[in-house]
């Protein structure tokens, strides 16, 4: 059960003013209107996802390091193809060698998948103290002349501690996948299928965005189309599984993709704005870290209180999606 959440953002800021200076005809306010983002935190040269996860986890642990017996690390930008970055983090964090450690490769749905894994490990008795880390450095994958991704994504790391005895309860998980959408959000030459030595052409789209096969490609309209189909079903299925109606849900936290998309989904689903969390203005879309960042924010501001029921939903790259209910304690 979730007992603590801690997050870390890199120091370097990429503001809308910075981007407006680079892109002719764009203004800082136009970027904000289109995305709901004013600035993103981005890593500097040599700063890796494991560094962000480490900083978040260091703040979390205190004296409880020796108790950790399972480390899960959600990332799509690992330090190496091998070894597993979670093993490096086990050593760097000073966790016991009896601690299991594994990476899993998911993006925007990754936190909910991580919650389901951690919850299952605790409930099955396989672990007593699970640490779920999320971190990504998507900004290092973005071509400087791709406005469609550079205006959206930021970097972050988060850490969530699960304890068997106490904490926020999780239930009613619904998970899904549809690999037919794989090419809509992809780094084409990032693995074995298309090695970098293969000469795939760099292209420029109608809006002047440069698409290099070694960089992140996102087909925003197709991703939006996917969310229109997947997210309403996901929300309905989670509520059905929990035997709850939207009326008794106190808070809804979706993956913070971009504000326009979320506002449309909110209206489509009839979620009151006072129950809906938007938390991307000063950090951007941080992939698997958006939901824990939003949770940390609502805890800090006192908006999330004891006994509240929260519907969480993550969706994106894969395609992959997941949702659940969190009862905060």
């Amino acid at each position: 059960m979730i007992s603590q959440i801690s997050c870390h953002l890199p120091n370097k800021i990429l503001s809308n003013d910075d981007l407006a200076r680079l892109y002719v005809g764009w203004t800082a306010e136009k970027i904000f209107e289109k995305t709901g983002i004013r600035e993103r935190r981005v890593v500097q040269d040599g700063e890796c996802a494991s560094d962000l996860a480490f900083a978040a986890a260091e703040r979390l642990f205190g004296e409880r390091k020796r108790e950790a017996d399972y480390l899960l690390f959600c990332t799509q930008t690992p330090d190496y193809l091998l070894p597993t970055t979670a093993c490096l983090l086990q050593h760097r964090l000073g966790l016991p060698t009896a601690c299991a450690a594994l990476d899993f490769n998911l993006g925007c749905s990754g936190y909910v998948y991580g919650l389901s894994l951690a919850n299952s490990l605790i409930l099955s008795g396989a672990a007593n103290r699970v640490v779920l880390l999320t971190a990504d450095t998507y900004t290092r994958l973005i071509h400087p002349q791709d406005k469609s991704t550079r205006t959206i994504f930021g970097d972050a790391g988060t850490a969530t501690l699960f304890c068997k005895e106490s904490g926020a309860r999780l239930h009613s998980f619904v998970l899904g996948s549809d690999g037919s959408g794989a090419e809509q959000l992809m780094v084409k030459t990032s693995g074995a299928r298309f090695p970098r030595s293969d000469a795939l052409p760099t292209t420029v789209d109608d809006s002047g965005n440069v698409h290099d096969p070694a960089c992140l490609y996102m087909n925003g309209p197709e991703i939006f189309n996917f969310t229109l189909k997947a997210v309403p079903n996901l929300v309905r299925e989670v509520l059905d599984k929990a035997g709850l109606s939207l009326d008794v849900i106190d808070m809804v936290i979706f993956h913070q993709a971009n504000a326009f998309m979320l506002e449309h989904l909110r209206r489509k689903l009839g979620i009151p704005s006072e129950k809906f969390v938007l938390n991307m203005e000063f950090c951007g879309n941080t992939v698997s870290s958006t939901i824990p960042l939003a949770l940390e924010a609502v805890v800090k501001t006192g908006r999330l209180r004891q006994g509240m029921k929260v519907l969480l939903a993550g969706f994106g790259v894969g395609y992959s999606w997941g949702g659940c209910i969190l009862e905060w304690n």
Binding site: S148, D206, N219, G220
Partner: protein, 77 residues
Amino acid sequence: MTKTQLIEKLGGELGIPPNKLSDSATLASFTAWDSMGRIAVLAMIDTELGCELPSGALQKCKTVGDLVFLLAGKLES
């Protein structure tokens, strides 16, 4: 929704006067027909017509007329 109303809504989303949105007008010629512009149009179609487009359908639309043809079954005559 009629075709005229669709064109008005499309113009509203893209910031283009409806009289510039003839059937033969090329969508890519409008600066606003970028990634976020197409997302805004998809949201408008979802809200106004209650329909989700098949994967890749919007990408295949080259002109305003292509888009109208795609949605013809949902429009009032």
